[in-house]
Amino acid sequence: MKNSWISRKTSRSSFIKSLIGGAVAAFLIPLIDKLPAKSRFRRFLRPPGALPGDAFLDACIGCAQCVNVCPNKCITLYGLEGGIENLATPKISARAQACILCMACTQVCPTGALEKLEPTKEGMRAVNMGVAVLSEDVCYSYAGRTCGVCYRACPLPGEAMTIGLFEQPMVHPEYCIGCGLCEQSCVHMPQAIRVIPRSEWEDRLARARLS
């Protein structure tokens, strides 16, 4: 009786020791993030319909179904370049290949990290991937050379972007959905128009108001 009690106690203590060992071993993995030689300078877009900010990271499990279904091959997966918190989550590099808003990825997401949207104008208007920001000092049209490529690429012409004299583009941030098609189509190198996250755009606006 006494012996069995002792053996049960020792097995329980070894169980708890192993439990703690395993938990510590797994918890050490995020320390990969502390390794040197990693650039976080580049920013990428999320697929359309993505939940804002951290809510997306809470829901996305990195199953790659959105990458799998993308007919445009614009969605790729993060490696360690975005830090461990972005590992295996989808990204879009708009300058390389921008999203054409076919909404195929939003239909297959199993966890609801991408909200279901339809490939219609209404569905497009619900997308919030960022805001396009124009650098007028780089843009050809503002230098007197008529271009207008970005306006022709825009999926919501007349709403998100309008053109004036010499096809000078004007972005309307309240309607811009940040798909990045204008950034991909820009003929200038480096691009005169680029998409930034909406939160960063709001920060810039606040700073501009202060100064």
């Binding site: 192993s18 797994a26 499990i61 990195g62 007919p71 195929a104």
Partner: protein, 316 residues
């Protein structure tokens, strides 16, 4: 006498099926993952060109052959976009013929971090959990693509053990529970991506997907190599037995599974311990243990007296 031998041979043939079957189904899963990754490539060519000649001009003759072959497959399957919407993903969360499958560990991780599930995600749990309740840990022997690599390591160890003395470390079952708890903690702290380094089958899926669909090397390859070396030098099937949290969870869910390995005590030989020695999951059918049994059939193949069989747990 002669009759009993021929009866034994018939039983041998029936039980010999399980082990080759498990290897075939796991290879099938690997091929399915490769097919899904290549479907991504094909979809892009289909929507961009939709013409073999244009594909050849853009990417060369070999890609044209690939495109035409896949075109022939999709003539059979149907509209490529629709097929891609109802089939895709990897062993972590997969969708086959429109039916979603969710990993229980993914469900735990999402619930711990976000606090809520979507309906499709919960429905995806139905098949894996009920499979575990009926058959036990069959995922490990019949689906997991990583266990195929670890089984190869198991055989390589067998060969190496002729010349070298390799260690056989044993850990407590608590270690895998600890990895599950620590991994969930790391997922809450850093993101669900840490599972692609902890779970071997997720790492295999990531590596295949990165390699085939995107043409890049994944960090997950490092974790596969790490686990394979662990298997080679620490103990046979070390990862499956002591590290993998999914295996531990499924073993726990299926600890009283309906179907299990049964032993006919009258025919069992007392001095023989073959079944426990060949078991990749460290289970001893000799002692009537069935927790963690993945029904791989290794013991059925090796048993000299044919006293083992697979069937309903209640009937002896």
């Amino acid at each position: 006498m002669g009759r009993s031998i021929s009866e034994g041979e018939v039983v041998m043939k029936a039980t010999n099926v399980l082990l080759p079957l498990s290897i075939v189904t796991r290879l099938g899963v690997v091929l399915l993952l490769c097919f899904f990754a290549m479907m991504t490539e094909y979809l892009n060519y289909k929507t961009a060109y939709n013409n073999p000649r244009l594909v050849e001009l853009a990417s060369g003759k070999s890609v044209r052959v690939f495109y035409e072959a896949t075109d022939a497959i999709f003539d059979f399957l149907g509209d490529p976009i629709e097929v891609a919407q109802s089939n895709g993903g990897m062993t972590w969360s997969i969708r086959v013929l429109g039916v979603p499958f969710t990993d229980p560990v993914a469900a735990i991780s999402v619930f711990a971090k976000g606090g809520s599930w979507t309906w499709g995600f919960v429905l995806g749990l139905a098949v894996p959990v009920s499979l575990a309740l009926i058959f036990g840990r069959v995922f490990c022997a019949y689906v997991c693509p990583a266990s195929l690599a670890f089984y190869t390591m198991f055989r390589i160890r067998h060969v190496l053990e002729k010349w070298f003395l390799l260690p056989d470390l044993k850990l407590n079952r608590g270690f895998a529970w600890g990895v599950l708890i620590g991994g969930t903690g790391a997922a809450i702290w850093a993101g669900h991506g840490v599972w692609s380094l902890i779970l071997p089958y997720f790492a295999v899926g990531q590596t295949l997907f990165h390699g085939i669909a995107m043409g890049t090397l994944s960090i997950s390859l490092g974790s596969i190599v790490f686990f394979a070396l662990l298997d080679l030098f620490f103990g046979p099937q070390f990862t499956c037995r002591y590290v993998c949290p999914t295996g531990r969870l499924l073993g726990f869910i299926g600890r009283r599974s309906l179907v299990s390995v049964r032993r006919d005590a009258n025919r069992c030989i007392d001095q023989c311990n073959t079944c426990a020695e060949v078991c990749p999951m460290n289970v001893s059918p000799k002692l009537d243990q069935t927790v963690d049994c993945s029904l791989c059939g290794a013991c059925l193949t090796m048993c000299p007296s044919n006293c083992l069989s697979v069937g309903n747990r209640g009937e002896k």
